[in-house]
Structure formats: C-alpha cells, structure tokens
C-alpha cells in the first residue's frame, strides 16, 4: 500500500533530481563564459527522464509495460523475491553533450551567454513546477488521511 503512495511521487522526484542536475550544468556554462577553450555542454532532459524512470508515465503506470522497471531491475526467480528498481539506462554524466550550433570565439570558448541565461531561467521555472507537483501530491495525500477525523 505504502509503496503505491510513494510510487506516484517517484516520477516527479526523478524530474526534480534531473532539473537540479541541469541547473548545475547550466551554472557550469555561465560561470565559464570567460574561460579559454571551454565548450558549452547540456543534456537532453526528456531522454534522461525516460532513462531514469524506465519510461513510466506520470501516474506510475509504465508507458511501455515490457520496459516496466527499466534495464537495471533485479531478476525475479522466486515468488518471494522483490524486484527492486535499479538504475535504469545511462547516468546523466554519460548523457552530457557539447552544445551544437555555437561558433567558438577566438579563444576557443563556445558559451553563448544569452542562450545560457535563457535556458537557466526556463530550468528554474520548471524546477519549481516539479516541486509544486510533489507538493500537490503530498497535500492530496494529507487531506485523504485526515478526512475521517473531521
């Protein structure tokens, strides 16, 4: 029962974790705007989220049942075994890519500060959105738990 309650929050939690990670990546770009030979980096949020949640939909139901728990799940060979989630797919460190389409300046730096600032602002809002989704879920659960006492 309790794992069903937390499962529904798992998706938002993963999204929040990846938003925090992307915030760090964008900070890396912004703080290296004057560093010679630094190349701007980023990762594809959608792909990273798919890898982290094993393609689960927002309500905890697998979008593709055959991928259910992701590639890193434990094998179940006995009915007493628990499945475990594992760390499905690639980690975000492996998904980091150099940003394309930017021409490097004469010092070899390819950070476009306007673009990075815009991405940073966007990511901040989306982080708060993920946080709000979790908060909404928590308050729904709290309300459901307390309804008998009134």
């Amino acid at each position: 029962m309790l794992d069903k309650l937390t499962d529904s929050m798992q998706f938002s939690a993963e999204a929040l974790k990846l938003r925090a990670r992307r915030q760090e990546v964008l900070t890396s770009n912004i703080s290296n705007v004057d560093t010679p030979n630094y190349k701007a980096i980023d990762f594809k949020f959608e792909d990273a989220l798919k890898a982290a949640t094993g393609e689960k939909g927002p309500m905890g139901t697998p979008a593709n049942p055959s991928l259910g728990n992701g590639a890193g799940a434990l094998a179940v060979t006995h009915k007493g075994h628990i499945t475990g989630k594992g760390n499905a797919g690639q980690s975000t460190a492996e998904m980091l890519q150099f940003r394309r389409g930017n021409n490097a300046a004469i010092d070899g730096n390819s950070v476009d500060i306007e673009r990075e600032r815009a991405a940073f602002a966007e990511n901040t809002v989306k982080y708060e959105a993920a946080l709000r989704a979790i908060n909404g879920r928590i308050s729904t659960l709290k309300q459901a738990m307390g309804s008998g006492n009134q």
Partner: protein, 140 residues
Amino acid sequence: MSLFNSFKLAGGAMQAQTTRLNTVASNLANVDTAAAKPNEVYQARKVVFEAVLQKAAPGKAALAENVQVKDIVEDKTEAKKMFDPKHPMADEDGYVYMPNVNAVEEMVDMLAASRSYQTNAEVMNTAKQLMLKTLNMGNQ
C-alpha cells in the same frame, strides 16, 4: 545534492572575476608610471581563466566543478617611448618609457568583469531560492 555544486561553481567564478577586476585596477593605476629604461617599465597584466572539469572519458563532455585563475600573463608589447627632456626620469637622449597599458581596453575589461560577476551572483541567488523552496517541501 547537485544544487550545492552550483554554489561552489558560481563562487569560484566570482572569485576569478574579482582577480580580473583587481588586475584591471592595477593596470589603470599604473597607466602613467614612467621609467627610465624600457626593461623597467610596468607591463599590462591579463588573467587567464581555467575550468576544473569533473572526471570523464577523454573527448567526452564534462561538467566544470570550479573556475580558477590559471595564470596572470604580462603583455609583452613594447613600451611607449616618449620624448620629454624635462621629465625627471628622462634618459640622456631625453626619452622616458611609458607602460603599454591601453586605458580604453582596460575600461571595457572592467565592465565585462563586473557583468560576469553580477551574472554569477544572480545564479547563486537563484540556487539559494530553489533550495529554500525544496526544504519547504510538503509544508504548505
């Protein structure tokens, strides 16, 4: 918690930009420091930044974990030779040597450093606000 790394990163960048600003101040302060010999004259200084990258496979994209000043290099262009026989530092031919500092260039560098500093301060502030909101999770 990856948001904590943002503090270190933005803080390191702010420190590096402060060093750059100090260098600009040094250059501007010495813009009129004359010398009697060409090898004694003040030379403009420039900072070179360096990113400390996290470990990754060679050729792969890696995240920076800090920004630091790698080196402060001196501008090797020739000193300005000025004919001024009345100057106390003038040599026997009446010449004094002035630093190769370009005041306009230094002012531009100063503005760029201050803007980068501001940007990093904003990044740090945003990270702080996000973390405080995260701490408040479930308390609404």
